[in-house]
């Protein structure tokens, strides 16, 4: 989100300068709204999105909720999972977090990711799911 906002700010700045040179508009006509939007993106949205992120390990299925404006709510039955990854990026490693990635055979939603789990949790979940994977479900 921070990266996206910086990108937006850069775009806004370019547009601002272009307009200033070409049309001689008053300064700030574009930069101010863009900065506001970027501020919203950095301050408000991450919290909202974080609050919408959720997962639920049922007995038979994994449920993943995500998104604030575009909400999705996915259920993956354990016995449909083909294989599981536990991945860590450099930033995640600093905070001891992991991403759980489950792969299914479906052409839609073939990869369901669940980021920001504590590494120990992610590994425990992997073990649980592993016990449910049966052979050749397709």
């Amino acid at each position: 989100m921070v990266i996206r906002s910086l990108f937006l700010l850069a775009l806004g700045l370019a547009a601002e300068i272009a307009l200033l040179v070409q049309l001689g508009t008053s300064p700030g006509v574009i930069l101010v709204p863009v900065a506001l939007l970027a501020l919203v993106q950095v301050l408000v949205l991450p919290g909202r999105i974080y609050r919408r992120w959720g997962y639920d390990m049922g007995d038979e299925q994994l449920r993943v909720l995500r998104g604030f404006l575009w909400r999705t709510d996915t259920i993956v039955p354990f016995n449909r999972i083909q294989h599981i990854d536990v991945a860590q990026g450099p930033l995640q490693r600093m905070f001891g977090l992991s991403t759980l990635i489950v792969h299914t055979a479906g052409t839609h939603n073939s990869i369901v990711t669940l980021p920001g789990l504590a590494t120990a949790d992610a590994e425990a979940m992997r073990e649980t799911i592993k016990g449910h994977i049966r052979q050749d479900m397709i």
């Binding site: 909400r71 999705t72 259920i75 299914t104 479906g106 839609h108 939603n109």
Partner: protein, 504 residues
């Protein structure tokens, strides 16, 4: 499922075999065809139209191509063991691939025109692993290819692959097919396969041959200046001009129809669908005029059935039956065509074999929310209004008429809404969609992989949601969706779908 391998000694020292030697010829012809053009270009440019030099260059090219192809051929070996097929290939980068029979989705034999003359067939093993070519043996002799196919097919049934059931095969040939298309049926299918592909090809040819035409042939301004000067056209009466326009439209339609029929004929000629009885039960499909394809798909790999039709086709009672599976059909199609043009009475017995049932006539389909059409219609109308106002004020007043487009688009959306329905039975989910391209997906509930309920920002005020169902097959870009139903109904539907398939 692997008990069998324990009881049988794993056939690890089966001989490594090569492809049929004639496949060198086949491959070389293919490669030469692409490079011949280069020789022709060289003949005119670098070699100063000297036939001796060009001939030498061509001979060198042919020798090179055949040499390299032969080298590749000599380094390509395959081994069929009791449980898997291994393919070793590559000149410098050796690649050793093993494909377990368990993972093979379908086996298809393909014979292009040249292969048919040489008695060869290309075997393609599909595992559904994303990438296009999973295992391709290009090419084996026809009998070897059929033997390999039968080995894979019989693997699960525990039949020994060594005795090819020849009598069995012959007996099956005599049995009536599940579905076949005669030439009359192909003609009908072709009529509905109306396409402008031929027109596009003609257009492309015209583009490339444009040095034969006047310079500004494709420039409308050229015609605007030329046409009014032609006394000939001005001389015609009003009705003659109408007739001319009608004639042009008729010509277009004829071209579209003919190209549809020709394309269908080439692809579907002598279409025949059989049931495979021995080994794994499944379907066997043969078709093609020039390129013969012969594909076997096991029954348990079929994920869902799709019945497609259109408003006119449905009126005359013709439907197109397709099967979804992880493996795609040849020619880039994602679904396996099982009956391109059939009546419902013909489709039912086919479906009967794969334990998918068509809707009972009294089954009540649920409609989706009317917001499905009016919300889109409002957005389209607003966009059109903005466009009409913008262009109308700044360009020409005639552009105000743009807003009238909202009516047909709204009507189309409304019809689409009327045709988007779903129904749930004990064992299957039915989803109907589209007015012009009518699709009925029949999905056994135990084949569902994932279920997702999603809401876009526009859905929140109406508490609507879209249910997307992940199936192991079909196009990723066009998944099975039930759009715009009430959120609580979506949740109920999902609960039902997920629960039904957790029971083994």
């Amino acid at each position: 499922m692997n008990d069998r391998s324990a009881s049988q000694p794993p056939d690890q020292n089966a001989p490594f075999r090569r492809l049929h030697p004639l496949s060198i010829v086949l491959r070389s012809i293919g490669t030469l065809g692409q490079n011949l053009f280069a020789i022709v270009v060289l003949h005119f440019s670098l070699l100063d139209r000297n036939f001796l030099h060009s001939g030498l260059a061509a001979a060198a090219l042919i020798a090179l191509v055949i040499g390299v192809t032969a080298l590749i051929w000599s380094r390509f070996t395959y081994q069929v063991t009791a449980r898997e097929i291994r393919i070793k290939s590559g000149l410098l980068n050796r690649n050793n691939r093993s494909i377990p029979f368990d993972r093979i989705q379908d086996v298809s034999l393909e014979q292009k025109l040249v292969s048919r003359l040489l008695g060869l067939a290309t075997v393609t093993l599909e595992t559904g692993s994303g990438g296009g070519e999973d295992g391709q043996l290009d090419a084996l002799s026809r009998t070897d290819a059929e033997m390999l196919r039968d080995t894979v097919r019989d693997y699960k049934a525990g039949l020994d692959a060594d005795f090819a059931p020849d009598q069995d095969q012959l007996a099956r040939e005599d049995r009536p097919p599940l579905f076949a298309m005669d030439n009359r049926r192909i003609l009908i299918a072709g009529l509905f396969n109306f396409s402008f592909v031929l027109l596009a090809i003609l257009g492309a040819v015209a583009q490339n041959l444009d040095f034969l035409l006047p310079d500004d042939y494709f420039d409308p301004r050229y015609w605007l200046t030329v046409l009014p000067e032609r006394e000939m056209i001005d001389g015609y009466s009003f009705w003659m001009r109408i007739a001319g326009a009608l004639g042009a439209i008729l010509a277009l339609v004829t071209v579209g129809l003919v190209s549809g029929i020709v394309r269908t004929l080439i692809r579907e000629y002598s279409f025949r669908l059989d049931k495979v009885e021995s080994g794994q039960p499944g379907f066997r499909r043969r078709r093609g005029l020039f390129t013969l394809t012969d594909m076997v798909m096991p029954m348990h790999r079929i994920q869902a059935a799709v019945v497609q039709t259109g408003p006119v086709r449905e009126y005359y009672g013709w439907y197109h039956l397709k099967f979804l599976s992880l493996a795609g059909d040849s020619g880039g199609e994602t679904d396996h065509s099982a009956a391109p043009c059939a009546t419902l009475a013909e489709i039912d017995p086919i479906l009967e074999h794969c334990a998918i049932h068509r809707t009972a006539s009294d089954l009540a389909f649920h409609p989706v929310s009317p917001a499905f059409w009016w919300r889109s219609a409002i957005i389209v109308t607003l966009l059109l209004a903005a466009g009409a106002l913008g262009t109308g004020f700044y360009l020409h007043r005639g552009f105000f008429a743009l807003i009238l487009l909202a009516l047909p688009i709204g009507g189309y959306l409304f019809l689409n809404w009327r045709h988007h329905q779903y129904a749930l039975t004990d064992s299957q989910l039915f989803v109907r969609s589209g007015w012009w391209r009518r699709r009925l997906v029949m999905l056994p509930r135990r084949k569902i992989q994932t279920v997702e309920v999603s809401q876009s920002p526009l859905d929140h005020p109406f508490a609507l949601a879209t249910v997307t169902i992940g199936i192991a097959g079909g196009a990723a870009a066009r998944p099975l969706r039930i759009k715009d139903i009430a959120l609580d109904r979506a949740m109920d539907l999902r609960r039902a779908l997920v629960n039904s398939q957790n029971r083994p």
